[in-house]
C-alpha cells in the first residue's frame, strides 16, 4: 500500500525510512491545514463578493465594512519600488563579484552580502524609522517621512543583498568553459559575459529576483514602522503619501481582532491574498532556479 513512496520494497524494512516519511508527511499536513484554515476562515468575506473585497478601499471594522484595495495597492507599489531600487545595484554587484573579483575578495564580498541578507527585518525597520524617513522628509521637504516611497526604498535595501547573492550564485555557476571559449574567440571579458554567460545565468537571476520580491511582499515590521499606516489609495500615484500594505495592516490589527467575527475573517482574507501572492512569486522563483541548476 505504501509502494507509491519508493519503488524499492527493501526500503520498507528500514525504520529510518518510516521516520523520515512520518516527518515529511507531518510537514505536508501542516501546510494543507494552514492553507485550508486561511481559506475556510476567510469564507464569510469571500461570500460577500471577492471582487468587492479586493477593490474597495473602505476598511471600517466598527461598521463591519472591509475592503482590501488600499492594502493591495500599497503592497504592489511598495514591492515595485523596492524592485526598481534594488535591481540595478544587485545585478551590477552580482556581475562584479562573480566575474571581476579575485576569489578571495569575492568570498569576503559574498560573506558580507549573506550577513546582510540574514539581518532581521526589525533591524532594517529601526534604521528606516530613525534615519531613512528623516532623510526623505528633509530631502523632499515633506511634512512627514512615513510614506510609501520610504517603505519602498527601505524594502529595496533589505532585498538587495538577497537578490545579489542569489544572482551571483547563478552567474558563478555557469561553467568556466563558456568564458574560456568566448575569450579565446577574441571577446573582451565584458563581451564574454554579456554574450556567453549572461544568457545561461538568466533563469537563475530571475529566480533570485522573485525570491527577493517574495521577501519584500511579506515583510511586516520594517514596513509598519515607516509606511504611515493609512488605508488610502493616494490620488495620482503620489508616492510621497502615507499608505498601507497587507502585512503592516495585519500586524497593526491582529491582536485586537483575534477570533472575533467578521473583522478576524477579513484579516485572514488579507492573509490569504498575501499568501497567494508570495506563493506565486516563490513558486516561480524556485522553478526558475531549479531549471537553472539541472
Amino acid at each position: 500500500m505504501f509502494s507509491f513512496l519508493v519503488p524499492d520494497r527493501r526500503c520498507h524494512a528500514d525504520p529510518m525510512f518510516w521516520i523520515t516519511v512520518f516527518f515529511a508527511g507531518l510537514v505536508l499536513l501542516v501546510a494543507i491545514i494552514f492553507f485550508s484554515y486561511l481559506i475556510f476562515e476567510s469564507m464569510p468575506i469571500w461570500e460577500q463578493g471577492v471582487w468587492a473585497f479586493l477593490t474597495s478601499v473602505e476598511w471600517e471594522p466598527a461598521e463591519d465594512i472591509y475592503g482590501a484595495g488600499a492594502m493591495i495597492y500599497g503592497s504592489f507599489i511598495v514591492t515595485t519600488l523596492a524592485l526598481l531600487f534594488a535591481l540595478p545595484f544587485a545585478l551590477c554587484g552580482a556581475v562584479t563579484a562573480s566575474e571581476f573579483l579575485s576569489p578571495r575578495t569575492r568570498l569576503v564580498f559574498k560573506g558580507a552580502m549573506e550577513i546582510m541578507a540574514g539581518a532581521p527585518g526589525v533591524v532594517y525597520g529601526l534604521l528606516g524609522a530613525a534615519l531613512l524617513s528623516l532623510w526623505i522628509k528633509d530631502f523632499f521637504g515633506l511634512i512627514d517621512g512615513a510614506t510609501l516611497f520610504t517603505a519602498g526604498i527601505l524594502l529595496g535595501i533589505m532585498i538587495l543583498p538577497t537578490i545579489m547573492t542569489l544572482a551571483e550564485d547563478a552567474i558563478h555557476s555557469v561553467p568556466g568553459e563558456y568564458r574560456d571559449t568566448a575569450l579565446s574567440l577574441g571577446l573582451t571579458p565584458l563581451q564574454a559575459f554579456l554574450k556567453a554567460v549572461a544568457p545561461r545565468a538568466l533563469p537563475g537571476v530571475i529566480g533570485a529576483v522573485l525570491l527577493g520580491l517574495g521577501r519584500a511582499l511579506g515583510e511586516t515590521i520594517a514596513v509598519m514602522l515607516v509606511i504611515g499606516g493609512l488605508d488610502i489609495v493616494p490620488s495620482g500615484f503620489d508616492l510621497f503619501s502615507p499608505g498601507q500594505n497587507i502585512p503592516s495592516k495585519l500586524g497593526r490589527e491582529a491582536a485586537e481582532a483575534i477570533g472575533s467575527g467578521l473583522h478576524w475573517n477579513a484579516l485572514l482574507a488579507l492573509g490569504a491574498v498575501l499568501f497567494f501572492g508570495t506563493m506565486l512569486l516563490t513558486g516561480a522563483g524556485s522553478w526558475l532556479l531549479r531549471r537553472n541548476k539541472v
Binding site: 466598527a62 512627514d144 504611515g228
Partner: protein, 297 residues
C-alpha cells in the same frame, strides 16, 4: 572533493557537538527558570490600554512584593486588544481607557465583561511644542474637527505659523481615539480624512509629535511634556488647559475613566489585586502615574 567526504561523515563527532550545544543551552535556560520556579506561581495577565498600563505596572510591582507567590504580567496593545483578550480568555484583566462598545459586548456576550474604575484621566489635543510656542495654545472643537476632516491644512488658519499640519490619527480600537473622537465629532468611530499618519500606543504617538515640528495628535494628558504640549479646549466661554488640577476638578472637557475589565465578577487573587489598586495604596500609585484617583468607586 575533500577529506571529510572521503572518510565518510563522522556521526559520533557530530552528535557530540549537537549534544554539547543542547546541554549548553539547557543549562542557561534552567538557571533562568530556577530562580523563578518557587512553588505554585500564579500568573495574572494584564493586557490592553497603554494609558492604563503605568498604573497596572506600578501596582503589579507593589502587589508582588506583598504576595511573593503571585506573578503579574502587564502588556500594552491598546484598549481594543485588552477587551478582546479578556473576552477570549487570553488575559485575566483587560485595561481600557474607554467604555466597552456595544459591538464588543455583543461579541463577548457569554463572558459578562465587568468594568472596575481605577482612575481618571483627560485626553489632550497634543501639538508639537514649536507650534505651541508660536502661539497656538488653544483650539475650539470646530477647529479640531476641521483639522481632522482635512478642511484646515495649515497652522496659519488657527493662528500659528504658515506650515502644513501633520495630522496624526490613531488605530481605530484605541481608547484615547474613541474618547477624543466622541468629543470632536460626537462619534467614537469618526473617520479622519485629514490624517497623514496612524500611530498606536501613547509612546508612539508622543514620539511622532515630538519628532515633528508641526504635528497634532491625541494623547492621554499624563503623557504631555516639554516637547508635546496640550492645547486648552473650550468649555462654555473659557478655555481650559489639560492640567492635573483641571482634570481633577472636572473642569477640563475631555475626561474619561480608566478601567480594569474582568470576565464576570473577580474572585480570589484577582479581586485582591483590583481592590489593592482601588484602595489606599492605589491612591499614590495612580497619582504617581499622573492620573486622578477615584476613591472607592
Amino acid at each position: 572533493m575533500n577529506k571529510k567526504q572521503v572518510n565518510g561523515f563522522n556521526w559520533i563527532k557530530m552528535m557530540n557537538r549537537v549534544l554539547f550545544l543542547a546541554f549548553f543551552c539547557l543549562g542557561f535556560w534552567s538557571v533562568g527558570i530556577g530562580f523563578s520556579s518557587a512553588d505554585e506561581i500564579k500568573t495574572v495577565r494584564v493586557v490592553g490600554s497603554t494609558t492604563v498600563a503605568p498604573i497596572a505596572a506600578r501596582a503589579a510591582e507593589a502587589f508582588s512584593k506583598k504576595h511573593p507567590g503571585i506573578r503579574i504580567v502587564v502588556n500594552g496593545g491598546g484598549s481594543g486588544v485588552g477587551i478582546n483578550a479578556v473576552g477570549r480568555g487570553l488575559a485575566e484583566i483587560g485595561m481600557a481607557s474607554r467604555q466597552v462598545t456595544d459591538k464588543e459586548k455583543k461579541n463577548f456576550a457569554s463572558v459578562h465583561l465587568t468594568d472596575h474604575i481605577v482612575g481618571r484621566d483627560g485626553v489632550a489635543c497634543a501639538i508639537s511644542s514649536e507650534i505651541f510656542n508660536a502661539g497656538v495654545t488653544q483650539l475650539t472643537r470646530e477647529q479640531i474637527a476641521d483639522i481632522y476632516s482635512g478642511k484646515i491644512k495649515s497652522w496659519k488658519a488657527v493662528g500659528g505659523p504658515d506650515r502644513p499640519i501633520l495630522v496624526i490619527d490613531k488605530e481605530k480600537h484605541r481608547g484615547t481615539r474613541h474618547v477624543f473622537m466622541e468629543y470632536v465629532f460626537n462619534d467614537v468611530n469618526a473617520r479622519a480624512k485629514g490624517a497623514k499618519l496612524i500611530t498606536g500606543s501613547n509612546n508612539e504617538e508622543r514620539s511622532k509629535i515630538a519628532q515633528s515640528d508641526s504635528a497634532v495628535g491625541m494623547l492621554s494628558a499624563a503623557w504631555l511634556n516639554a516637547d508635546v504640549e496640550g492645547v486648552a479646549l473650550k468649555k462654555g466661554d473659557t478655555f481650559i488647559a489639560p492640567t492635573v488640577e483641571n482634570i481633577q476638578s472636572g473642569m477640563y472637557p475631555v475626561i474619561r475613566d480608566l478601567l480594569f475589565i474582568t470576565a464576570g465578577e473577580p474572585k480570589g487573587i484577582l479581586k485582591d489585586f483590583i481592590d489593592f489598586v482601588r484602595g489606599e495604596e492605589g491612591r499614590s500609585i495612580v497619582t504617581e502615574s499622573g492620573y486622578v484617583f477615584v476613591p472607592g468607586s
